[in-house]
């Protein structure tokens, strides 16, 4: 009883002391806050170092998304490359949690230090692929998924990926 009473009184005293500490609040928008490069703001889709879109439409971001605000449809190009036929983020539902970025196996989806995306129309908060896709590589400059994957695409045949041996000649008798 007395212990808890003392604890409460200490708390009151501590809070009272805060009468003399300055406020932490940043007076946005007059004052702009510092946003770290890894700040979780507006989501973008990036391109690989060769300038092709990184997203392979694997759907993991959509599966990881807690408010289920990502929807996409896979398509496949002539050469076997997967890409999203459409890629939609409903930012009016997005909670900027960054789970999609963590789930992305190709570093395609990234969060940026930009949170100023207010709209008067909720419908304008729905971003399609053309709104999301940027021209750069974002935070990760060197990664190119198709160099690592075993899939043969235009300009990279079987065996030409990183750490890959030449295709096996089935008819060879050599060990």
């Amino acid at each position: 009883m007395f212990k808890s009473l003392r604890s409460q009184l200490t708390t009151i005293w501590t809070i009272l002391q805060h009468s003399f500490t300055p406020a932490e609040t940043v007076q946005y928008p007059e004052e702009q806050p510092y946003l770290a490069p890894r700040y979780r703001g507006r989501i973008v889709l990036t391109r690989d170092p060769d300038g092709d879109e990184r997203c392979v439409a694997c759907n993991l971001c959509a599966a990881a998304c807690p408010p289920d605000c990502i929807a996409l449809q896979q398509g496949v190009r002539e050469d076997g490359r997967w890409y999203p036929e459409f890629f939609r983020i409903n930012f009016s539902r997005c909670i900027m949690c960054g789970m999609c970025e963590e789930a992305c196996p190709t570093n395609a989806i990234q969060l940026t230090p930009d949170f100023e995306m207010c709209e008067y129309e909720r419908q304008s908060m729905v971003y399609e692929k053309e709104h999301l896709l940027i021209s750069g590589t974002g935070k990760y400059h060197d990664y190119n998924f198709y160099r690592v994957s075993g899939l043969a695409i235009d300009g990279k045949d079987k065996g030409q990926g990183q750490n890959e041996a030449q295709p096996i000649d089935v008819k060879s008798l050599l060990p």
């Binding site: 605000c69 729905v126 075993g150 079987k158």
Partner: protein
């Protein structure tokens, strides 16, 4: 039952199992790759290692393979001991050495057994620094995509393809870490069951090619239990939908029907749902002959108006469909009255199907499901090309002929799951399978004897066998056939579970009667005989049960129409141009003022209608189908039909409600219709048992159609409106269009998908089974409507005046037309699936090379089929029926010519007709075309 100890716990297990089966049945997680419940063990992948201890004092133990170790009373095992789990981890690590970094772009990702097992054993980092092996892929046809890099050499593909399904063109090639699974050269996989490789392969080597474009992960698919509409077998399927498109069809396990496997027609043929030909709005033919789109209500009012029967005059008739549900047909029958309702069979088919039903209803023999077929130890097929008319049964027969092998194994006390050992033991010894058919079939390689005969001769052979079994004399028969009949009769009599299979396939009633007689003779000889009769379409048998014998035929309707006694004709999901010669159907439709057609896809009949209503396909509606074994099975909507599409039963019920018909005042829901049908039609009284009604709840909850990971709910429709609509409510079934609910232990007819924690692939099925490979926990789907007749006295249907003497020889220069079916092409709807369409050939006629020489044609050239004009009595006057491409086939019965059923250019040919053949001049090969697609296909080609 033996008691075994696993990790210190005592378990009672089923005798005759191996440790892997026992563990999985007990609900314990033991990783495996090469073992498959339907294919047994070979111990190739080394993944299911456990530690076995000799006795309680033994604390070292030894590693054994779970799938190769039988359970023994008192045996002691460790599943999770360090030694076993470390061993399993290193096995996965070695399997993953060359596995590419592909999961994001792999169609197996998210339902990959390899992923599941890797996570289960805890392997994470590849320690090996060497380069990864790579392989070149092969083109394996339009159905299967090949990505060989991903292979872990478990040999499941070749074991299924070659050993289980009898394929010959997929093999393991090269040796050691060069092993390659593919064809000897690129090309279409020839087996009709190749699609099962998608589900059999534990990783992404073989994937569904039709899903490669517009791929959707398993967790994003909305799926519902469904039934295949490709043929009358009634395999249970799991179609999956996303964004309003049917994405794929997977197998839905049903221990008594399809087990683990589907045929390729069923798996890849359902994509017709997405066809551009599908109707979205009702159409009313205007003055100019073009269709104008209508809204739902005015279409309904037009139909109500057309159906309004004037007092005293009965001028409305309906044509049902053997591919529509029992409920829709029942409602149409109610709407027009039983005397004005035609079941929608062709005139040739109708007596055959009615006979098939009567024979099965009266036969004392067991009407087997597929599981029972697999237990048959002597089989006789009379005139049915099962691989093309009821493919899943052909696959089952490949298992039944192995009963001989199991007998041999039992003598040596080998367990049934010792797959490699039993195959080595039996070599080519098989249970006897006899085939009497019009030409070769895909089952010939496992047949003990095969004979090609004209349909009437097949019947004579069958009657002879029946007589022999009954102890009668068959001396009238030709001596060569006598020997054959004797061999067949002996084999069937010696068998414990003989099976006779026939069907409507060769278009001959006597063949089916012969089959029924054999079965009856066997039953009288105290043998447990089975009789299976194949029928053509998904609900053919149900339709025959609905109408009973003596229903209106198309010919009778045509007559009434010609007499001006029909004003309105309602055609339910039926393309009449596939049911008879074009001229007669044209005449029928021309004589009726209002032709109302309800159908899913645009077709020739629909184009000839005055009012077209868009009917929802099987994937968007609910219904009951009766399969060839008399099993009533329910299918459920996978997704909500788009635009104005409605289930046929909804259209018909709405019309009757609008007309304020007495009969439907008490019918409000789908279940009401099912119940009304069951009480009205005694033969269908069991259909309410096909599945639980809409009030069923699983632990108080509906059953979800979506997995708990279903993604994109708040973004899928955001392009249309950011305000999310309410999830559609399904009041007609116990399933919900949502991820909320419980998918566990419900009846097997309500299983929308399989998933269990840690088991994302379809291998999670064992969590839903009472024991691994056994029945589903909630019971097997479907209600059997046909039970063996009790008495052995045969009805008149099975006792025709059988004569064994050969009939008069055929007129020279004429050929008897015998139907030849194609798994890809003979079916009406599956050919509208893009993948299947690639495999459909143009129509053809098969003749022997001797006949070809006599006619002066070669393979690939054209042949005109002429009908002798009886009226003129002159041989020179003939009517050309069709012109088709010649295919040489020396196995075809003498005097017969096989025509491709359902393929372009063959619609005017009637089975058993005797036609005159002559070489076609200026022959140009048809482009592959589908009957009734644009009207172009039905005119018979572009020859001069």
């Amino acid at each position: 039952m033996p008691v075994i100890h696993i990790d210190g716990q005592e378990y009672e297990v089923e005798a005759g199992q191996n440790i892997l089966q026992a563990c999985l049945s007990l609900g314990l997680d033991l990783p495996y790759f090469c073992w498959h419940p339907a294919m047994g063990s070979i111990g190739a992948c080394r993944q299911c290692a456990v530690v076995q201890y000799l006795n309680p004092e033994d604390n070292r133990g030894r590693i054994v393979m779970g799938c190769m170790t039988p359970v023994m009373d008192g045996a002691i095992f460790s599943l999770n001991g360090d030694k076993a789990s470390e061993f399993r981890r290193t096995i996965v690590e070695s399997l993953m050495l060359n596995h590419p970094h592909d999961c994001p772009v792999c169609a197996e990702g998210g339902e990959c057994h390899l992923q599941d097992m890797t996570v289960m054993v805890g392997h994470r980092d590849r320690q090996y620094r060497g380069k990864k092996n790579t392989h070149r892929n092969q083109y394996l046809g339009p159905l299967i995509h090949h990505e060989m890099n991903r292979c872990i050499t478990c040999y499941r593909c070749t074991r299924f393809y070659n050993d289980y399904a009898g394929g010959t063109d997929l093999a393991a090639m090269a040796a050691h870490d060069h092993t390659y699974f593919g064809r000897h050269e690129e090309g279409v996989l020839q087996s009709e069951f190749a699609g099962n490789l998608v589900e059999v392969c534990p990783t992404g080597v073989f994937t569904d090619k039709s899903l490669m474009k517009g791929y959707t992960r398993k967790w994003d698919l909305q799926s519902a239990p469904s039934v295949c509409t490709g043929c009358a077998v009634g395999c249970n399927t799991l179609p999956g939908e996303r964004y309003g498109k049917l994405k794929r069809v997977h197998n839905r396990f049903n221990a008594e029907v399809n087990g683990y496997f589907l045929c390729d027609r069923g798996r890849f043929g359902a994509a017709f749902v997405n066809s551009e030909k599908s109707l979205e709005y009702p159409g009313l033919r205007g003055e100019d002959g073009r269709f104008n789109a209508l809204d739902h209500h005015s279409a309904l009012m037009h139909m109500v108006h057309a159906c309004h029967a004037e007092e005293g005059k009965n001028k409305v008739a309906g044509i049902g469909s053997p591919r529509a549900s029992v409920e829709a047909n029942y409602l149409l029958r109610l709407l027009v009255g039983a005397e004005n309702f035609a079941p929608g069979f062709s005139d040739r088919e109708q007596p055959l199907i009615e006979l098939a039903l009567a024979l099965q209803q009266d036969s004392p023999a067991l009407i087997p499901d597929i599981q029972t077929i697999e237990s048959a130890d002597a089989i006789l097929i009379l005139g049915e090309d099962l691989t093309n008319t009821a493919p899943r049964i052909a696959l089952a027969l490949r298992q039944s002929v192995r009963n001989k092998a199991y007998e041999l194994a039992a003598e040596l006390r080998l367990e049934a799951w010792q797959d490699a050992a039993i195959r080595n033991l039996a070599q080519d010894q098989r249970s006897p399978l006899f085939i009497a058919s019009v030409a070769d079939s895909r089952l010939d390689d496992i047949a003990e004897d095969r004979v090609a005969l004209a349909p009437d001769d097949i019947a004579r052979l069958g009657f002879a066998v029946a007589k022999l079994i009954g102890g009668e004399n068959i001396s009238e028969l030709e001596p060569e056939l006598q020997a054959r009949a004797q061999a067949i009769a002996t084999a069937l009599q010696n068998a414990q579970r003989p099976l006779i299979i026939s069907g409507t396939g060769c278009g001959n009633a006597a063949v089916m009667q012969a089959a029924a007689q054999i079965a009856q003779a066997l039953c009288q000889a105290h043998n447990r005989a089975m009789l299976a009769l194949a029928v053509p379409e998904a609900n053919s048998l149900g339709q025959a049960m609905l109408t009973g014998p003596g229903a209106q035929s198309l010919a009778q309707l045509s007559k009434r129409a010609a007499a001006g006694k029909l004003d309105t004709l309602i055609i339910l999901e039926n393309d009449l141009y596939r049911r008879g010669p074009k001229a007669s159907i044209d005449a029928l439709l021309a004589n009726v003022a209002n032709v109302i057609v309800l159908d899913t896809l645009d077709n020739a009949t629909l184009s000839a209608s005055s009012l077209a209503l868009p009917a929802a396909s099987f994937a968007e509606s609910e219904g009951t189908l009766v399969s060839m074994e008399g099993r009533a099975q329910r299918y459920y909507p996978v997704f909500v039909p788009r635009q104005e599409r409605r289930a046929s039963w909804i259209w018909l019920l709405a019309v009757m409600k609008e007309s304020e018909r007495e009969e439907v005042s008490e019918l409000h829901s789908f279940d009401d219709i099912t119940r009304a049908c069951a009480s009205d039609i005694p033969a269908l009284s069991g259909i309410t048992g096909a599945a639980p009604d809409a009030h069923f709840r699983n632990a108080g909850l509906k059953i979800p159609r979506q997995t708990h990971r279903y993604s994109g709910r708040t973004a899928m429709r955001a392009d249309v409106s950011v305000h999310e609509p309410k999830q559609p409510v399904d009041e007609e079934s116990p399933l919900a269009f949502s991820m909320e609910g419980l998918n566990r232990s419900q009846p097997g007819s309500l299983l929308p998908f399989v998933w269990a924690p840690g088991w994302n692939s379809n291998q999670s099925l064992h969590k839903f089974q009472s024991e691994v490979g056994g029945h589903l926990k909630g019971g097997t789907a479907g209600a059997r409507l046909l039970l063996p007749a009790t008495g052995t006295s045969a009805s008149t249907a099975t006792q025709p005046d059988a004569t064994l003497a050969p009939s008069a020889p055929q007129q020279p220069g004429q050929w008897q037309m015998v139907p030849r079916y194609k798994i890809f092409g003979s079916d009406e709807l599956s050919v509208h699936s893009p993948a299947i369409a690639e495999l459909v050939d143009p129509g053809f006629i098969e003749i022997s090379s001797d006949d070809a020489r006599a006619l002066g044609v070669n393979d690939g050239e054209g042949l005109v089929l002429n009908k002798p004009d009886n009226a003129s009595q002159g041989e020179l006057l003939t009517i050309a029926v069709a012109t088709l491409e010649v295919r040489l086939n020396d196995s075809i019965a003498v005097g017969c010519a096989g025509y491709s059923v359902g393929l372009a250019g063959t619609e005017d040919i009637i089975a058993a007709d005797k036609l005159v053949l002559s070489k076609a001049d200026n022959w140009k090969r048809h482009k592959p075309q589908i009957i009734g697609s644009d009207g172009g296909g039905s005119t018979g080609g572009d020859h001069v």
